[in-house]
């Protein structure tokens, strides 16, 4: 992790923190809570964690890409659109990665 504070022992803190935390989340009910039911409203929020966090992470990377110095760029926007549409239509992760990569590659080669 060159050039940041994670260029040393702090990286290991992150790795072990994520390892422990991820195991903790996976073991929480199986090991600790057991069969006790969770309140419905908690479950309802948990159902949306992945679709609520990942788009928020991606949106700034797409609109202000680091590679262009933060300038919005049509080729990258089109590539993301191709990925999104392919994923929505085919429900296939590998196909949508390929679609995005092909559009990005072609777009950058042609411009």
């Amino acid at each position: 992790m060159t050039g940041t504070q994670y260029d040393g022992p702090l990286l290991w803190v992150v790795i072990f923190g994520l390892a422990l935390g991820s195991f903790g989340l996976r073991f929480l009910f199986l090991g600790v809570v057991g069969n006790r039911p969770m309140p419905e409203w908690v479950l309802r929020h948990l159902r949306y964690t992945a679709v609520a966090v990942l788009p928020g992470l991606v949106a700034p990377m797409v609109v202000w890409p680091a590679a262009t110095g933060g300038e919005p760029e049509p080729v990258r926007l089109t590539a993301i659109l191709a990925t999104l549409v392919t994923g929505l239509v085919t429900k296939n992760m590998t196909l949508s990665i390929i679609a995005g990569a092909v559009v990005l590659g072609l777009g950058l080669a042609l411009t």
């Binding site: 069969n35 966090v53 992470l57 949106a59 999104l84």
Partner: protein, 242 residues
């Protein structure tokens, strides 16, 4: 794990999970390549990927570290992506609650999206399955997932250096993430949550310490939960009229 029932369940699980390897392996490669590009040593990348076994979470952590975000934000954001694992754990508990603590710990460690989805489909069917059968089936579904994830990362990390400079690797992460989310946007509630999250992240990008992502995550979850309630109520009303 040695009775004939659990053995046949193991091979059934293995067979049904085999296509997942085609998704897990390339995704593992992406993490290996991106981690190597970010400057991680081979040993760091491999411990990271084998101890966490959660691609989206690992890429989130990696990206925020590159952004030099504070430690707490890195951990909180990457773990937030993994909150769904707590839900999987809750859903598996009625099936494995009677297993030994060691087995429950092993099952927890190897739970990922793909093998959870297969188990959920199998276990909630009409058949009554024994604990031995379920354990065998889970073990079978784990073989094409976690090991392929880890070996994919290894290959990605090894070839990462050989990838030419002009390739737009910066965009591997957004493309992978969108490909990961899009197939899961099944309902209006899912799509609403994703849309609100993206818009909040852009609107609050000016917040320090990547706190905009926290706003986006919480806002997206609340949107999803509320939309689900509204859509359910509307459906009930429609059925009441029919």
């Amino acid at each position: 794990m040695s009775s004939p029932t659990s053995r046949s369940a193991f091979f059934l699980g293995l067979r049904e999970a085999l296509p997942m390897a085609l998704v897990v392996f390339p995704f593992g490669m992406v993490f290996g390549v991106v981690a190597t590009e970010a400057g991680l040593e081979l040993i760091e990348t491999m411990v990271f990927t084998s101890a966490v076994i959660a691609g989206a979470s690992q890429l989130t952590g990696l990206h925020l570290m590159q952004d030099a975000a504070p430690l707490l934000i890195v951990l909180a954001s990457a773990l937030a992506v993994n909150l769904r694992m707590a839900m999987y754990s809750a859903a598996l508990t009625p099936h494995f609650g009677q297993a030994s603590l060691l087995r429950r710990a092993l099952i927890a460690f190897f739970t990922v999206d793909q093998n959870y989805a297969l188990c959920a489909k199998r276990f909630d069917g009409p058949e009554r399955l024994s604990l031995g059968w379920k354990t065998g089936y889970f073990a079978g579904t784990t073989v094409p997932t976690a090991p392929f994830w880890i070996s994919g990362t290894l290959l990605g990390a090894l070839v990462g250096d050989a990838i030419p400079e002009w390739l737009p690797l910066d965009f591997a992460v957004p493309i992978t993430f969108v490909a990961l989310i899009a197939p899961g946007l099944r309902t209006g509630a899912h799509r609403g949550a994703a849309l609100v999250s993206a818009m909040l992240a852009l609107a609050f990008a000016w917040l320090p310490y990547n706190l905009g992502l926290m706003v986006a995550g919480i806002g997206g979850m609340m949107t999803g939960a509320q939309l689900e309630l509204i859509l359910e109520r509307r459906k009930l009303k429609k059925e009441g009229l029919a």
